[in-house]
Every structure is written in C-alpha cells, then in structure tokens.
Amino acid sequence: MELLSGNEAIAQGAWEAGASIGVGYPGTPSTETLEAFAKKDDVYAEWCPNEKVALEVGIGASAAGKRVLATMKHVGVNVAADPLFTLAYTGVNGGLVLLAADDPGMHSSQNEQDSRFYALAARIPSMDPSDSQEALDFTRNAYELSERFDLPVIIRSTVRISHAKTPVETGKRMSYTLKPYEKDASKWVMMPAYAKGRRTSLDGRNDELKAYVNECPYNRIEMRDSDIGIICSGAVYEYVRDALPHASVLKLGITWPLPENILREFEEQVDTLYCIDEASDYLSSQIKALGINLADTPQALPIAGELSARAIALAFDSAVPTSYDAESNLPARPPALCAGCPHRLVFKELSRARCIVTGDIGCYTLGALPPLSALDSTVCMGASISMAHGFELALENTEHAPVVGVIGDSTFAHSGITSLLNTVYNQGSGTVCILDNRTTGMTGHQGNPVNGKTLQERISRELNLEQLIEALGVEHIQTVNPNDAQATRAAIKEAIEATDALSVIIFRSPCVLLRDSFTPSAPYTVNASCTSCGACISLGCPALAKDPDTGAASIMADMCVGCGQCAQYCKFEAIEQTQGGLR
C-alpha cells in the first residue's frame, strides 16, 4: 500500500498499461503527472512548448503504435482542442490517454471550466476517478478502452483528485509491444473525402461505446435508502458519502457518454432523484437532455467554486457541525513575488511610467497585486502580446498611455511567438517585455525551450531569443539586466518613446529559487539615514518591512537574498549591504 497523489497514480496507471511516451505542458493541477511518469523505467517523456504540440506529438506516437500519456490542465485542453476534435475522427493505433486536470475553486487558474464538455463536444470517452486508486485503475484500463473503441480517452481530474494523496495498491507493468503501423490514408488523412468516412465511423464507434457504458464496471448503483438518489462523479462522490450516508448513489465513473439504461434504472429505484455537480452543470444538463427529471435540492447548491460535504448537507437541510465564528480583521496573506525576484523592478518602472500593461500567465501575474499594481489584464497564455497590439489598434490616433505587453520566457515559447509574429506582420507598434527568468517558475521550475532543459535531462539547446526575435522582423531589441534599476528605466523609456515602432526588451536574470544558477549575496540592511520616505517599501519585497509607528524601513536578513534592488531606490544611502560576502 502506497500513498499516492491522483497525479502520481495516473502516471503509475499509464506505466502499468505499458505506455512508453509521455507528453505535456506544465499547468497546475496537472504538472506532477508527467514528472512522475518521466521518472519511471522504460519510458520517454518530454515537455513540449504547448499543449497543442504535445497532443500532436502524442497522436504521432500513437499512430506509430505506442501507448501515449498526454497531460495538461483544463485551459491547456483549449490549446490542444484543434487536434483533439479531429483525433476523435482518426482514432488511435496505440492507446492514447489525455489527462485534463480541472481547477474548480480556481486555486491556480484563470477560469473553472469543466473539461467534460470537451468529451461531449468531441465525442470521446471521459472517466472521472474519485480517489487515487481509481485514478490508477481508470488510467490503466483507459488504454484498453482507447484501443477497443479506437478513440482517445480523457481522464478528467480535479484539483482534489490530482493533489490528494490516498492509499493505492500498485501493480506490475504489462508488456506492450509496438503495434504495427500501416499506412491508411482513409484513417489518418483527414481531408474531406476521408473525413466523411471517419465521421460515420465515429458515429458507429460512439454507438458501441454507448452500449458499453451500460455494462462497464465504472458506473455503479449503490442502493441504500430509496427515498433519495444522487447521481454524481469524481470528488463529489466522496462529499456525498459523507454528507448523506444513507442516500442511494449512482456513481458515474464514465461521464461521457452517459449510461442511459443505468440512469433510467436508478430513476425507477429511488423516490426523488438529484444530480450533484461541482462548479458546472455538465452532468445535470446532459441527464435532463435524456428526458430524466431531476429534483432541485431543498436549498440551492453553490453554482461556482468547490463543493464540500458541508455544502451538500446544507443543501439537504441536514445538520452540520457548529463552528466558531471566523475571526475578523485579519490581514490578508496574498501570494507575492519572491524576495529578490529579478523582475520586480520591471513592474515598478512600468507602473511609474503609467503604462497600459497587458500581462500574461505565470508568476508575473503577481505584478498585478499591490503595491506594484502594474497589470491591466491577464487572460491566457500569450495574450499579453496580442492584446497589446489590439490596444494599440484601438487607441491609434488618440493620445494614450504607452502600451506594453509583459510575458515570461516559457509563456513566450508557449504561444507568445505567434502573437509577436502577428504584430510584426501587421506593422504594429508598442513594447513587449520578455521577462526571461530561465525557467517555468510558477509550476515548479520545469525546463522549457528557452532554458534548454528537458524533462529527462537529455541534452538540448537554449533558444536564442534575440536571434529569434530579430528573425521575426523586430528592429528594436534590447537585452537588459532587470536588477539594474537605471538600465531598466532607460530601456523602458527608450522603447515607449519610439511610439511608431515595435520594441522588444528581453529582461534576463535567473529566478532566485533556481539553486543551480542563482547565488544569494550578503543581505542588505537599513541604517540610521532612513527618512521613512517609503520608496523601498513601494517595491513590495517580502523582505522589507515598514515600521507601523515610525514608517522606517527594515530588512529581514533571513529573507533578503542580497539583490540590492531596494538600495537603488533609496535617495538617502540608507540601504547598504552587510559584510560577509557570499552566503
């Protein structure tokens, strides 16, 4: 018995099924799946620049006859949606399983979309595990289903499945030999003439699948009291069992296609039928579409955010534990850019220059929070650059603040390159800042094409950003050390003053959490010359504190990494480095 997270269990299940190719792009809560898979014996795994590329690599490997694991977060499936829909037509050769990890409650995401709608729209099976054992078993068996029905299979997880550790019995790896690849244009070349045939084929495969889900072991009726029947899946099943221990439950392990016969059977067996879903009406809307009546819960369930046993108990007027009142007047503790984050000053200077700043996904989203408050927008991977172009188009011929797109290195490689290409192609202007911290920071320091580090530490090469951007046709390119306040300010000034040109500034300095490329220096300290002006405090560094009474600044030596950014903002020479050299 091992304690595995859902993500680790999915990796284990894929490995046990003989999968030997893993592809993906990091994204919370999916990231650890591919990392765990990559550490296993006899597998090849790679991070790709984005999820579309990852899935396409996976489709190629599947066509060639290997079993494939593709992993991504829910919004990553949006990026991979183009190949995904047509993959339903082509089908697979070696089994292909796609982890789509949803984030109800938006712990680390920009929306809380439900990936099962992709299963419905693309007409591919979706499996919802409720704990790590099911995550392992479902994933392992999903490969058989994938090959049997000639379809990719989505393992749809949520944050409480992916990031909860529960006991798991693991098994042995089955031997899987390469399935022979045979050239078959009618299956793999999706031009209209062949796609029409595959569309008909998909209908047939879906019909077989719809029959199968009524007999499969994954959908089960648990009869208890017959007065209440609850249809649910995934983490919600566990909450229902705690909240309504006497209720009968139809636990759906496959959530597309729905098992129509089992649903009707369950409807007959219970007096009142409910469906409980989390941050989504996926299940209830699809069940109602079958003409099955669902009752409203006595009290409304929350529509947005995560569910819990308590929320379900309250919806059924069941008793919940009494609790202490929440304490009020506590200071918020939002996440913050790290002490010494090399890109703090870029946000500071953009804020000072009163720019319109279109932001992007990753650590640098934190530049939106006070006191930096530097961002105007964050939408999706790569949108900083294309939205900046849109702002420039709309504001053309008006007097407007300088428009600046800000994007990290991994995000630029993910989908910023095509955006920049568009701005060049359409002769757009404005400024793009690429904050190159030599890693994919927020998701836990994965390799990417810019830093040239690969998932299984195979030899690679670093992308030369300057050469790439020059080749795209950008004429104004600067490379700047963002720890240097004057250089940062001057570079931004030069770029935004060139109003008719497109400028790119590459701010390059390693993430302070990268042990192999960042070495902390001796901490700084504040001397008696401090006038309490607050200039350093306005940087929002977690190592700097303002005295609530005197307003004087102080530096917490145990948090300071010695970057010296704050000292450059002190006009009174009150911030100086302590002796002692390197730590």
Binding site: T31, A164, T166, P321, P331
Partner: protein, 194 residues
C-alpha cells in the same frame, strides 16, 4: 487498535513553512498504524508566500479529502495569524496547537494593514497550546526541524504509538538528521505535557 472514529487534522501556515512535509509524515504514521488516510494539499500560486493549508483525514473509512467549518478535530498552526484565520474549521472542543510566531504578510510589511492584536489571549480562548517551535528546534540541533517539533506537540493528542512516530521519522528524514529530528519530536511532545 480499537475501532477508530475518523480524525481530521488541518495544518495551516505560510507557503514555504513545511506544512506539506509535516502532513506527509503524519499520514505515514496513520497508515503504519493501520488507518486509511487522505491527504490534500494545494500547489501553485499560494506557495509564493501566501496562506496555505493541508488536510489529513484518517480513519477506518475516509471519504472527504477536505475539511469544512467545524470539522477539524485538530488544528496545527505554524503561525499565529494563520491559526486565527482557520479557527472556524476547528470543531468546538477540538485541539489547537500553535507555533507562537508571527510572519508578516505583504499588506502589513507595506503598512497597508496591521497584525492582529492580543493574539495569545485570543488563541488561548480557544484552548490553544502555544509553543515556540523554532527555539525548541534550535535546542534540538537545527531550526529546520520546527515542523517536527509541532508534530511532536500534535502527537500528544493522537492515538499513535511513539515508536511508530520515531520509525516514520527515521524513514523520512536524511540519515544524518535522524537524531536531531527525533529530539525535536520529543521536545514538542514535552512542551505539551509540561
């Protein structure tokens, strides 16, 4: 072990304090004691110095992997503000162990918010046991063992045998730090019985 009712532990702290490591050790002790366990944590954005919580639910049958208001039998807080922030999750009469230290969040550091006042008194009104985990950890030989000190305090309220705790600590920590960690665990235990 006799039939065990489900026990729910909420660990609350600040990103980077080692709550996940402590939760992992606790979960392993529960498994070694024959219980089913679900451990739930959140990765990603909040780890950048934000407030973090980790849940360990243990028993012969465990469904939920999260804890709602009034459901925690134990709240182990790595910082006093985070103890107060999570107090509504503790059931009335539940046990509260708090590392008596304050970590100022960014809004306080920048002068936009104040730290809570009368923290010790407020925590004691919930029956908190306060301990100075960092100094006990230093006393044990390394200030990095504060989370094990806190587990030692928590262990006094849990039905797990001491030798199972010690065995799991041995399996979990680097070999040259085993003695320091076991000393830290005992200092935490003694701080409660004292």
């Amino acid at each position: 072990m006799e039939t065990v009712k489900e026990m729910r532990v909420l660990l609350a702290g600040v990103g980077g304090q080692g709550t996940i490591l402590a939760a992992d050790l606790l979960a392993k002790v529960a498994i070694a004691s024959g219980l089913k366990v679900k451990l739930s944590e959140i990765h990603g954005m909040s780890q950048r110095g934000g407030a973090v919580t980790t849940v360990v639910n243990m028993g012969e049958e465990v469904h939920s992997m999260v804890i709602s208001e009034g459901e925690a039998d134990y709240l182990l807080a790595f910082e006093t503000t985070e103890a107060l922030r999570n107090i509504q999750f503790l059931r009335e009469g539940g046990k509260l162990y708090v590392n008596n230290t304050q970590i100022k969040p960014l809004p306080v550091l920048t002068g936009k918010a104040m730290m809570p006042s009368n923290v010790e008194m407020r925590l004691k009104s919930y029956g908190a046991h306060l301990l100075d985990a960092e100094s006990l950890a230093s006393q044990a030989g390394s200030n990095k063992t504060a989370n094990v000190v806190l587990l030692g305090a928590l262990s006094t309220g849990l039905p797990f045998a001491q030798d199972i705790w010690e065995e799991q600590i041995r399996l979990k920590v680097p070999e040259h730090t085993i003695d320091i960690n076991i000393a830290a665990f005992h200092l935490g235990r003694e701080s409660v019985s004292a």
